[in-house]
């Protein structure tokens, strides 16, 4: 057991946990943040993607010890005061989802890309999103949503 302190969606959190446990289950089972999804448990589907220090990580294989002293953002932390993030707006507008199960991971993955590269090309988006699986086949609209969010943010939306 270890005490872990980190910034979660803008608030400081302090937890005493078995530090070898995975971030996904600490978020879901200890902290009640169920927006981050379990899909494969082995970092091969992207459903559990969250941001640690602005980098996309698969929380299902990230020991919680690794976020000690760091900044973590989950899907719950993306909208500000009920105002959707441009990526969230774009996923709604372009219908970039069907069942919605992979969606939080998709949005967080895309968010990490846009933080690093605000105006990615279609090829760069495809390459970055390649590890993310969607079974419903919303891919085409997800790509459109990410492009549209990128354009909106370049135009001043945040």
């Amino acid at each position: 057991m270890k005490t872990i302190t980190f910034m979660l969606n803008g608030s400081a959190r302090r937890l005493t946990v078995d530090e070898t446990r995975m971030l996904l289950w600490v978020l879901r089972d200890d902290l009640g943040l169920t927006g981050t999804k379990f899909g494969c448990g082995e970092s091969v589907c992207g459903a559990c993607t969250v941001l640690v220090e602005d980098e996309a990580v698969r929380s299902c294989m990230t020991p919680v010890s690794e976020v000690d002293g760091k900044k973590v953002v989950t899907i719950e932390g993306l909208a500000k005061d009920d105002r959707l993030h441009p990526l969230q707006e774009a996923f709604v507008e372009h219908l970039g989802y069907q069942c919605g199960y992979c969606t939080p991971g998709m949005i967080m993955g895309a968010h990490a890309l846009l933080l690093k590269n605000p105006r990615p090309t279609r090829a760069q988006i495809v390459q970055h999103m390649e590890p993310h699986l969607c079974r419903c086949g919303a891919h085409v609209r997800i790509l459109e949503a990410i492009e549209s969010a990128s354009a909106a943010m370049a135009g001043g939306a945040r």
Partner: protein, 722 residues
């Protein structure tokens, strides 16, 4: 860029939509005032689905009411339906039907889905039936409600009903607009419950104002913010995660299990009921670790088949079969044939692989079990849970939150029964969320198939006979729709149950358009083989052998949109075509592919799909379903196949079981062929049906090699090229 119009509004009003935390008290409160119409009518069934409904139910439905529509004192309309939302968009399109019939704005309609305590019985959400079969029932209930409200208004306003109209939920005199009464005013302070069997007139298609226009999806905001609750996200107080000891292979059994080490872990509870052994812990990952501590030995599976030997095994073990369709005389047809071709087509087992694994949470309170389940069949599941726990049915309630993809795989809901058993045994709420390995092990796979076709052409390049035998895939989509005077479609085995127990090494079941994918792959491949024999362009050859006007229209529409110019295959262009009929919907797909001869890799460059699905309720929703079908269809056509050996499923996760990825998804264009003379047909499945055939034909057109086995892996493409 996908072709879609943006004629729908995008703002979703707050508080509008899915009432997902509906509980019994809310229902009683909701229905304590206002008008509740409970309607009993026989649903209009699709041709194939009607036959396999449980006995004793009229067309699959009990004689109880099967549609509830409530109109509250606030004028809000609530549809209570037994269907579930798994991404297909029924929670958006079904309220459109109610809004249309009741003449209320769509924003005033709510929907409650898949809750067995408050919704009328429903057999399940599958078969592309929500709109085509349940839609007319819901419309009829809404039409009855409108007729009653108009009658109440006539009474209140002292005017004949025929002189009244309804605009935006207000009944008013057509002659004097100052004489009016809103739905809310008419139902306020009253509690009226009506059980009806009649059928008020529904609106004609020409009068539709809500149906046929794209409506914004109701689940958008919830799904992009992480607020949408799936079964695994429902966490009752004091809930425990359960991990269950599983055998390593189908047919194996547990010999011994030592749970001492797991039991010794602080916080872990072990529940053992014969060979049903579970470890429970409040945290999922700690339950995982505890399960790893259980030391068990297993008997060997008696199964000796593998994914390579399975095809011979199926041929040996399949039942004798029967003719599902027949016409003319095959022997006469053979005599008329100038050229005859016989081929065998194979398809492996395919997983549903929904991103949400099978998940359920069960809680027991005052002797009643409530199960929140990711299921496509809440009502049958309720009966299964009651049987498993030996409880009367009224002591079981199934609630269906958002379902994270189904595709037929969540018609079976073993996880929910396990959660209920463990909740009963432990006295605590229990969550069962399958690991991906469990998901790939217990999946009711799309069955492997062996299809042989012998067919002949006469001198006029018309197909004169067609002798078709399918093993594994079953009947759906097997009968051909070309003009063949002498034909027989012979079906040995079904896609689901009723097969000899040793035929498949694991469970098989419905997978998005069950059986139709394998059948269309074989049929459309073979039609192309015949076209090549005839030296004809594949589209022209199809048109020469078709008289069905709906099929010709979708084929011609697809060709125009695609920019198809006639050329016999192989043309080197990599163009392919394939057609299909599913859920009464007609579809033609076209593809352009590139094949790397050195590696055998296929890259799909673009896809066009033209579909006649009758009256379209929500065009943008229908297009989403078509795009989903085309994208998902890339998987079974190119990469997805379950590998197994002696009862063990070798694919345990997405590292080896390969779903379509972003880089593989081509440019997609969808066309909804206008068809207002047809009722609303199915939209969730049809466009996936031609995907094996369209890509196999495109590969042949590209490189002149015919791949007769799905998936068309690089190794199989290379073998075909050799």
């Amino acid at each position: 860029m996908t072709r879609h119009d943006h004629d729908h509004e995008l703002e979703v009003p707050a508080g509008w939509g899915f009432v997902e935390t509906f509980d019994r008290r809310d229902f009683l409160k909701l229905t304590s005032t206002g008008l509740l119409v409970m309607l009993t009518i026989e649903p209009v069934f699709g041709r194939q689905e009607g036959a396999r409904q449980p006995g004793g139910r009229r067309g699959g439905y009990p004689s109880d009411p099967n549609a509830y529509v409530h109109i509250g004192a606030d004028g809000r309309v609530t549809c209570l339906v037994g269907k579930i939302e798994m991404g297909q968009g029924a929670m958006t399109s079904l309220p459109q039907l109610a809004a249309e019939e009741l003449n209320v704005p769509l924003t005033r309609v709510d929907i409650v889905m898949g809750d067995t305590d408050v919704c009328p019985w429903d057999m399940g959400t599958f078969g592309s039936l929500s709109i085509r079969q349940f839609g007319p029932v819901l419309r009829a209930a809404a039409a009855e409600a409108r007729a009653m409200l108009v009658a109440m208004a006539a009474d209140r306003l002292q005017m004949p009903a025929a002189s009244l109209e309804v605009v935006d939920g207000v009944v008013r005199s057509t002659a004097d607009r100052t004489k009016h009464a809103s739905y809310g005013e008419l139902t306020a302070g009253k509690r009226i419950e009506r059980r009806l069997e009649g059928q008020a007139a529904v609106e004609p298609v020409s009068a539709y104002t809500v149906v046929g226009k794209s409506a914004p999806r109701r689940d958008g905001r919830d799904k992009v913010t992480g607020k949408a609750k799936f079964a695994g996200d429902v966490v009752p107080k004091d809930a425990l995660h359960a991990r269950i000891l599983r055998v390593p292979a189908h047919g194996a059994t547990i010999e011994q299990a030592d749970v001492a080490a797991a039991s010794a872990v602080p916080g872990v509870r072990v529940i053992r009921d014969g060979d049903f052994i579970a470890v429970l812990h409040p945290h999922r990952d700690e339950a995982d670790r505890a399960l790893d501590l259980v030391k068990a030995t297993f008997t060997k599976s008696p199964s000796t088949v593998t994914d390579e030997t399975i095809f011979d095994h199926l041929v040996k073990t399949a039942p004798a079969g029967r003719a599902a369709a027949e016409g003319g005389n095959l022997a006469n047809g053979e005599k008329l044939a100038a050229q005859t071709v016989e081929e065998k087509y194979l398809k492996g087992y395919v997983s549903h692989a929904a991103m949400e694994t099978h998940s359920a949470v069960a809680a027991v309170e005052d002797g009643k079990v409530t199960v929140w389940a990711g299921t496509q069949t809440p009502f049958p599941l309720k009966s299964q849970v009651a049987r498993a726990l030996n409880l009367p049915e009224d002591k079981v309630r199934v609630i269906t939150p958002y379902v994270g993809g189904g595709f037929g795989g969540k018609s079976a809901s073993q996880q929910a029964i396990e959660a209920a058993r463990l909740a009963m045994a432990s006295g605590r709420p229990v969550r069962v969320v399958f690991s991906r390995e469990e998901e790939l092990f217990f999946d009711t796979f799309d069955p492997a198939a062996v299809i042989t076709i012998r067919a002949g052409l006469d001198a006029q390049k018309k197909i004169v006979f067609w002798d078709y035998t399918v093993i594994g895939a079953g009947e759906r989509g097997a009968a051909q729709f070309y003009d063949v005077p002498n034909h027989r479609t012979f079906v040995r085995s079904g896609w689901g149950g009723g097969n000899p127990p040793d035929m498949h090494p694991f469970a098989v079941g419905p997978w998005r358009a069950p059986g139709a994918n394998a059948n269309a792959f074989a049929r459309e491949s073979h039609v192309d083989v015949l076209a090549a024999k005839a030296g004809m362009d594949p589209v022209e050859f199809r048109l020469r052998n078709l008289t069905d006007a709906r099929m010709k229209r979708v084929l011609e529409t697809a060709a125009k949109t695609f920019g198809w110019t006639p050329k016999p295959a192989p043309s080197g262009r990599g163009f392919g075509v394939a057609c299909g009929i599913d859920a009464d919907t007609y579809v033609a797909n076209m593809a352009e592919v590139k094949v790397d001869k050195a590696t055998g890799r296929i890259q799909v460059v673009r896809l066009v799909s033209a579909q006649d699905m009758g009256v379209v309720v929500n065009p943008e929703g229908a297009r989403q379903q078509m795009e989903g079908c085309l994208t998902m269809g890339l998987g079974y056509a190119l990469s997805e196949e379950v590998r197994f050996r002696n009862g063990e499923v070798l694919d345990k996760n997405f590292d080896t079981y390969e779903l379509p990825r972003f880089s593989q998804v081509p440019k997609i264009e969808t066309v909804l062929v206008p068809s207002s003379d047809q009722a609303s047909h199915g939209g969730g499945e049809p466009a996936i049906v031609p995907m094996g055939g369209v890509l196999a034909n495109a590969v042949f057109d590209a490189v002149g090699a015919r791949v007769r086995q799905l998936p068309m892996t690089p190794a199989r493409v290379k073998a075909a090229l050799a």
